[in-house]
């Protein structure tokens, strides 16, 4: 099969003189040949080559840049001395520096949404044997999210007449602000952390839980019955899944002996026998069970398929965000993707050794590159689940949580204790 047959061509109808009808043009694309051996197609091979080249190229750039934290430290000390020489108080230098770092933390969810929405659309398209966005931007619709964002920004903000106006306005804010605050103690690489606080794990779960309030507020205030049902469902679901999610991390905390996320990631450095990394996922049974429970609970916490019952499209129209349009809707979307990123960052820190290289000879790449690649691979799983699973029913969802995940995570804590006893 040549390449021409899968390129869209100008269709030239053929007139069939036998019955006076326009025949189906032979140029129309039927996938029958492609299904026999996709790798025989030049486009497949070329796509794989481009992908491999991209990965190698990004790895090369990462190697060239090296660790970001140590590189930024002299710049900071230089600026600090410069300011001090002009008599600026040290307190104000710290305040300004905190704000500058804050801007970078603020950028993380925003840039993540920009990329993740496009990536999700591409992944969903390729899972569904389509192309996805191809026109906006120069390469494979790369700027599609930007165009969508501009569209959402320009859209009219409609507030329903029977809505509780104040709460309706406040709900997206209540959802978004914790979604940004929660990134404070999360490391993005070695020394790349906004607030290296000792209770980081507790902080993340506590602040992340506040977003549930926003979703309930959105459901309640919209003045729409479908929204109300969505809000009720999210109240039940998100609060329930907080428990196994937190319990799943307990063995990790017990083993590491700290709540500081960066220290938990640092605890996993090194290799068993010089080859197997000392990541928590490789601790026998306890590590794997904890990871799977945390993964499932995280998918449920982020309202994604198969646990997307608060916004179940085919049942509740759009659930709690039915009555939201324009930028308010975009804020819900932004926070959803922020929580996906957060879950992946946490999983990379808790179970995959943070910035540690998977094999000893690969540690020439900087820690942030490993952190990012682990996060992206985990994020791919989130997007992958979304496009391959049906949705749970609301009561089965609760059964699954209270009768399966929670007992398993509790037993796992006990197993973690036994493991620590055996190791000591």
């Amino acid at each position: 099969m040549t390449e021409e047959t899968i390129q869209p061509k100008v269709l030239e109808p053929v007139f069939n003189h036998a019955n006076g009808r326009l025949l189906m043009p032979e140029t129309r694309y039927w996938p029958t040949d492609m299904w026999k051996s996709p790798w025989s197609l030049p486009t497949y091979r070329r796509g794989a080559a481009v992908l491999a080249g991209l990965i190698l190229g990004i790895a090369g750039v990462a190697w060239f840049i090296g660790e970001i934290g140590p590189r930024l430290a002299p710049i900071y000390s230089l600026a600090e001395q410069f300011a001090l020489s002009y008599g600026v108080p040290a307190f104000w230098i710290a305040v300004v520096w905190t704000f500058i770092k804050g801007v970078f933390v603020l950028l993380a969810p925003a840039l993540n949404a920009l990329f993740a929405v496009w990536w999700e659309r591409k992944i969903s398209a390729h899972i569904q044997s389509r192309m996805g966005p191809m026109y906006v931007g120069w390469w494979h619709g790369a700027l599609q999210t930007l165009a969508d964002g501009i569209k959402l920004f320009l859209k009219e903000d409609i507030v329903p007449e029977c809505a509780d106006k104040v709460v309706h306005w406040l709900a997206p804010v209540v959802v978004l602000i914790p979604a940004i605050l929660v990134f404070a103690p999360v490391p993005f690489g070695k020394d790349l952390i906004y607030a290296n606080i000792d209770i980081g794990t507790v902080y993340v779960f506590a602040v992340g839980g506040v977003s549930v309030m926003g979703i309930i507020m959105a459901g309640w205030s919209s003045g729409n019955k479908f929204s109300l049902l969505g809000g009720l469902r999210s109240a039940a679901q998100l609060v329930s899944y907080e428990l196994p999610r937190t319990f799943a991390v307990l063995p990790v905390i017990m083993l590491a002996g700290t709540l500081n996320i960066a220290e938990i990631a640092g605890f996993q450095a090194g290799y068993w026998g010089g080859i197997v990394p000392r990541w928590f996922i490789f601790y026998p049974v306890v590590g794997q069970v904890a990871f799977i429970v945390f993964l499932i609970a995280s998918v449920a916490e982020t309202n994604r398929v198969p646990f997307d019952i608060p916004e179940a499209e085919s049942e509740l129209v759009a659930g709690f965000n039915t009555e939201y349009s324009g930028m308010k809707f975009a804020l819900f979307f932004l926070s959803e993707f922020a929580y996906v990123l957060l879950s992946c960052l946490l999983m990379a820190s808790f179970f995959f050794g943070g910035g540690a290289a998977p094999l000893p000879f690969l540690d020439f790449l900087p820690s942030w590159a490993w952190f990012l690649s682990k996060t992206l691979i985990l994020m791919f799983c989130f997007l992958w689940f979304r496009w391959t699973f049906p949705r749970f029913r609301v009561d089965r969802l609760m059964d699954f949580n209270w009768k399966f995940l929670l007992p398993v995570s509790l037993i796992n804590i006990a197993a973690g204790g036994i493991l620590i006893w055996l190791l000591s």
Binding site: N19, S129, F226, S314, E315, W387, R393, V394
Partner: protein, 380 residues
Amino acid sequence: MTKHAHAPADLKADQMFINFGPQHPSTHGVLRIALTVEGEVVMKGDPDVGFLHRGMEKLFEARTYSQGLILTDRLDYISATHNNLGYCLAVEKLAGIQAPLRAQYIRVLAAELNRIASHLVFFGTFGVDMGAFTPFLYAFREREMIMDLFEMLCGGRLLHSYVRVGGVAADLPAGWTEKCREFLTFFKPMLKDYDTLLSGNPIFRSRTEGVGIIGADRAVSWGLSGPTLRGSGVSYDVRKAEPYCVYDKLNFTVPVGKNGDCLDRYYCRMKEMEQSVEIAFQCLDALAGAELNPGEFMAKGVPKMFKAPAGQAYAHVEASRGDLGFFAVSDGGFNPYRMHVRGPSFINVAILQEILVGCKIADVVAILGSLDIVLGEVDR
């Protein structure tokens, strides 16, 4: 069926009244279900039809028999060929026309291809109802190929009007048989893919198994037909019970369910697609044989306008959604005096008011999807 548009007066304090539709993503058109819910549990659910009523049966009376054909496309627009076929069989019975054997084989072939296309739409939308969007795209990819085949056959993709009174509109064009075989050989293994994609999924099974159970006796007493009836374990198929065209010469089985839940109704349709592929292969073999005269696709001497002798005729076919019947009454003129359509979707949708009680809101979508109604046929 309810007439009121607002909440019933006997609504209790802890209950909520929801208008499920007519604008809702998963009512498959403009069906309205008046739901009374207590939290997530449905206490009462009444289907309310008529939002797409176009007065089709009256429109038949103002058109000649040939013109009336194009109205039938618009009844069940997902499987237009079955409607054409049912109408033509009724008119042929009324006017005493006999279609040639080759035309009958082509009719069966077109009907079975259309059945596959229709069940693919069901498969896709049922997946979407369950929250799985991906099967929809796969189903439509294969359906697109059937649409191409129909376009090649008659120029139309959705509304075919290919079956005409006295035969079919045109003979099979050159190269069509090969394309059709290519599609059928491609499609048959795809059914296994669908099973791995959706039917075998534990979440999907937990959503459909034991949900919306219709017992065999209840299914018969509500007058259900098609896969909705066969899912309940009643083996009734018009193609077997009263064979029309050449179905008595073809070898196929009728898949039957056991429990009558959503999964059985769903799986009956999946199995039916397999049988349709077999039937289509048999038709293609027969059409390639020498005994069928090539080019004889239309009965001789059927004019565009003809008078049917006074009387009445009823013909029914096994459409994708069930037993589709056309009852034509003639007073001896150019137009039918009365034309009545027995739409299977209209009769199947009525059982909703009984089986929705006590299920969850998510099950409403599953049950409605498993009945596979088309609102064009329900409202007419």
